[in-house]
Symmetry: C2
Subunit: 574 residues, 2 copies
């Protein structure tokens, strides 16, 4: 490997002679790989990426076939990533400050083992990644088939290749490298339909206290008073207890595209982008490993966008089987912990999933928001900011704050929001909801098929629990098919299209504005189509509603179809 | 506070006019404190320390009385500290790159709450800290009195001020700020003697699976098949499951002294110094909070020195009640994971408590060691080092390595070792051992009183488990009193003075050299005075052995008194 590397470096160096402005055309990963990479290509990836950065290469070309990657010799960094768990992370493709660069996959399967983040991009510009498959040798959500149930217990049969051990009577999953795969939840899936079983809900179970017993090879009995009615033959998914390693992390990036990327597994979200701009996912497929028996793909949301700008486009994608929502687009609220002076606030992150995010910068405009109504009452410019630690920040404003500012209010950036286009996608068979839409930019959701176990399109946002900024201004939902949604847990939404914002005082609040729902097909067994509150401006027209209990037992009453509370300017044409 | 700060800053600025070389005499913490600091002085400490650094003050003067400090607004940093747990830490007195600086305590009690490291020093020179008391509002080792035992259970009564809650049937300790205090071990203490109960040993219990039940106010029943014979009235200590926040951390420091420091509590070691030089602890008292019923002081070793140089002095100190050894002085071994070429090794940390330590530097001499014998077979100079992550490093040497280098060998720095003086100290009533001595410098241990539950002076070191470099060369143990040692667990050592090194192949290995034991008094119930192996040069003379079963039941046989195996040049004069 070293010899090849030396030859290559020399070759590239020729292209970069002083006065020569042309970039090397490409760096080829295969030139860095020797037979020692067959079990772990990480040393080759490190060397190739370091050369790409050093030589300002325009692209890295992957070799096709399968490339195995392990965390042992990977890059490492402690990261706070919004809506994921902070931790010291191993990272495979670590990209910082790169610009005008692409990774050409040539159909390569990157087959990872263990806890590692496939791609991490920070302060990058104009990056594209094409034609790769990402999978892991050991899944992060453990799936077992229900073999028996009874009073106070159930039994699960896990696949032959699952390695297990017991600690203090608790069942621990691990792999051949002795990495462990901790779990914290339990959810039943219909093994024929490959989707959440009808109207089941989440249970919680922890590796540290599972108190299971082995009752046969790969078969374990779990003693639970609260869970004895699972269907024999169904699949029970033991959900990962951490979200440590997203497949693609974008921090402060400008210009990013994924094209023809297939993602079958990872320990966290598929794409998490924060404070980033202009993102396109074209034909990205998130789904359980094809050819396997699995019902779950990745262990958290397929995509998640926080405080982004410019455009977010998801076109002709598949978001299937992920262990949480297909997407969530929102901003951040920090809470006012203390008014330090007339122009200075002590702010605090109240949702630990946001710790460590440092988005406030001098010159930025913040809105001040009453967390009872979620209505904004003032906009002020930041003069200085000092982050005390991952939880607290002191912010000085350019002018005096209004007298009404008080502890418990929240602040968010109010300088621009992303335009969102979600078109031609399949969204379903996952846990929870479809799309959580919280951008104040122009949002178009069109030509998608939804088969969501909960709400298909949800308008969230609150300043008391998740602390996520929302409040849509311009949403068009058109030409979609909503196919038998709402078959999952009752806690995953109140209707196919719904508001779920945490607004304690709703009477005068109109947090969301201007939502158009037209020319869609709502097909299914559940009467609950719309459930909205605190909306000003909503139009429902040209939609087709096809009630059918052919596939699922009918649910809800006809009068539940359209529910509006504390709304203005509602137009419904059936 | 801000007004005072402004006045002070202006005053100090006057002293630092260009051309004026005199340092300001002092920064006074009281000038930064207002009434808002009565619950948490952290904002004042931050402001004062920032001024000390900015203005190059020669000292920070504390105000006397009690100063309360909480983690909320403390400094924060992810730290790898040897023999402690890596984590994102909150830090109170964060000192980096400071020089010729002292903190004058004036008897101040720094009363902390929650998980916070009191003092962290990195790359500092000539720092002294005097006359302070460190305590915490809530201890990290939870102590309960045994109220009942029986077949498969025991009951503990905890103090009234302990706040508890249950999670999934497991007992969780927390404080009024909702911080939790996780535990992982159980050890019985004699409540009259205030020491580990006679010949008990450690049990393991986890917050996550304690499965306890409340049976009265503050009284809990723990169901355990393996622990039903505790003595009613004794104290059961539930040990902290993490070592996150040492009281004093020294990283790459040169010149440090503590004088008249009283340390009653912290979540980790008392003093941990790594890659540091010239350290003196004068009249440092580690003990359970005086006036309390507590038997435990801090939750881990009182002191711990790794890869240090120059001198380490501990004079007239008390190391009492800590939940682990009084001190441990050793180096680090990294393991050879792979021989990459004739002059290049892939090294790996094999003990996770050493992860993240980056001690190897170009120009350093490393010894190469056979981990079967622990004997060094070569010394080579480092040319280049690249740390891949917290676990792996690639090291290039200035010349070819000997042909015998192989996977599983270990390497350590071999450039100089600290001279150690431990004099006039009281060492006892803790868990485990007294002094673990692994320096190859001149070591003098004199005029101390030991009342250690295990071995009083232990020579450790191994390349297969803890990966700690030892191999003493010059140790004098004189004029000490060993008072009834060895009353604790049989796993804490084989004799009052013992070798405990992990040496698989002992026949020809002489890992330790030149140990003199003279003019000491060995008083007590246990026949086992010496148990040594792999030592070349040992003299025992002028000592007084007073066997007595007045205080504890006699233990061991007379022939166990002096045990030597695989040793050379042994002289014993009884």
């Amino acid at each position: 490997m070293r010899i090849l590397e030396t030859i290559l470096s020399a070759a590239l160096a020729v292209v970069l002679l002083p006065g020569c402005s042309s970039s090397p055309a490409a760096v080829y990963l295969k030139d860095y790989m020797d037979e020692s990479c067959s079990e772990d290509a990480m040393p080759a990836i490190r060397a190739a990426l370091e050369d790409c950065a050093r030589l300002k290469a325009s692209k890295l070309v992957l070799p096709g076939d399968t490339v195995r990657v392990k965390p042992a010799r990977a890059f490492e960094e402690y990261q706070y990533i919004s809506n994921n768990d902070p931790s010291m992370k191993r990272i495979a493709f670590q990209m910082k400050g790169m610009k005008d660069f692409s990774i050409e996959g040539n159909g390569t399967t990157l087959l990872f083992s263990g806890h590692i983040s496939p791609f991490n991009l920070e302060s990058c510009e104009n990056i594209s990644i094409k034609d790769i498959t990402i999978d892991f040798t050991r899944a992060f959500v453990s799936e077992g088939v229900v073999t028996a149930t009874g009073k106070g217990f159930f039994e699960l049969q896990f696949p032959d290749h699952y390695e297990t051990t017991f600690r203090e009577g608790n069942l621990v999953f691990r792999d051949s490298d002795r990495e462990t795969y901790p779990y914290s939840s339990l959810l039943e899936f219909d093994s024929v339909r490959k989707e959440v079983a009808y109207h089941v809900h989440d249970y919680w179970i922890w590796t540290e206290s599972s108190q299971a017993k082995e009752v046969g090879p790969g078969r374990y009995r779990f003693y639970r008073d609260d869970y004895g009615d699972a269907t024999v033959g169904n699949v029970m998914a033991l959900g990962a207890s951490t979200r440590n390693n997203p497949a693609f992390t974008l921090l402060d990036c400008d210009g990013f595209s994924l094209t023809d990327v297939r993602l079958y597994n990872c320990c966290g979200m598929g794409v998490i982008a924060q404070s980033s701009k202009d993102i396109e996912l074209l034909r990205m497929d998130v789904e359980p490993t094809p050819g396997s028996d699995r019902v779950i793909s990745i262990s958290a949301d397929a995509t998640h966008f926080v405080n982004c700008k410019g455009y977010i486009r998801m076109i002709d994608c598949v978001f299937k089987g992920q262990k949480d929502d297909a997407t969530n687009v929102h901003g951040w609220y920090m809470a006012v912990e203390k008014v330090l002076s007339k122009d200075k606030l002590l702010l605090r992150w109240k949702n630990s999933g946001q710790y460590g995010v440092r988005f406030i910068k001098p010159g930025m405009t913040l809105e001040l928001v009453d967390s009872q109504t979620m209505e904004s009452y003032s906009r002020k410019e930041v003069k200085e900011v000092e982050y005390l630690n991952s939880e607290y920040a002191e912010v000085v404003f350019s002018e005096s704050l209004p007298g009404e500012v008080k502890e418990g209010d929240v602040v968010a950036e109010d300088d621009g929001y992303p335009d969102v286009l979600i078109s031609g996608c399949y969204i379903g068979n996952n846990r929870a909801r479809g799309l959580l839409i919280g951008s104040r930019g122009k949002v178009v959701i069109e030509k998608n098929t939804f088969h969501s176990p909960g709400t298909a399109i949800l308008f969230e946002g609150d300043g008391r629990y998740w602390y996520e900024q929302s409040g849509v201004r311009d949403v068009t939902i058109r030409d979609n098919v909503f196919d038998n949604c709402m078959y999952g847990s009752s806690t995953w939404g109140s209707a196919v299209i719904a508001v779920g914002s945490g607004i304690p005082d709703r009477e005068h609040s109109r947090y969301h504005k201007n939502i158009l729902v037209e020319n869609n097909v709502f097909r299914g067994f559940d009467n609950r189509i719309l459930n909205l509150y605190c909306v000003d401006g909503f139009t429902f027209r040209g939609n087709k509603i096809e009630f059918s209990d052919a596939d699922y037992p009918a649910f809800g009453k006809p009068e539940d179809r359209f529910i509006f509370k504390n709304c203005d300017n509602i137009k419904v044409e059936e």
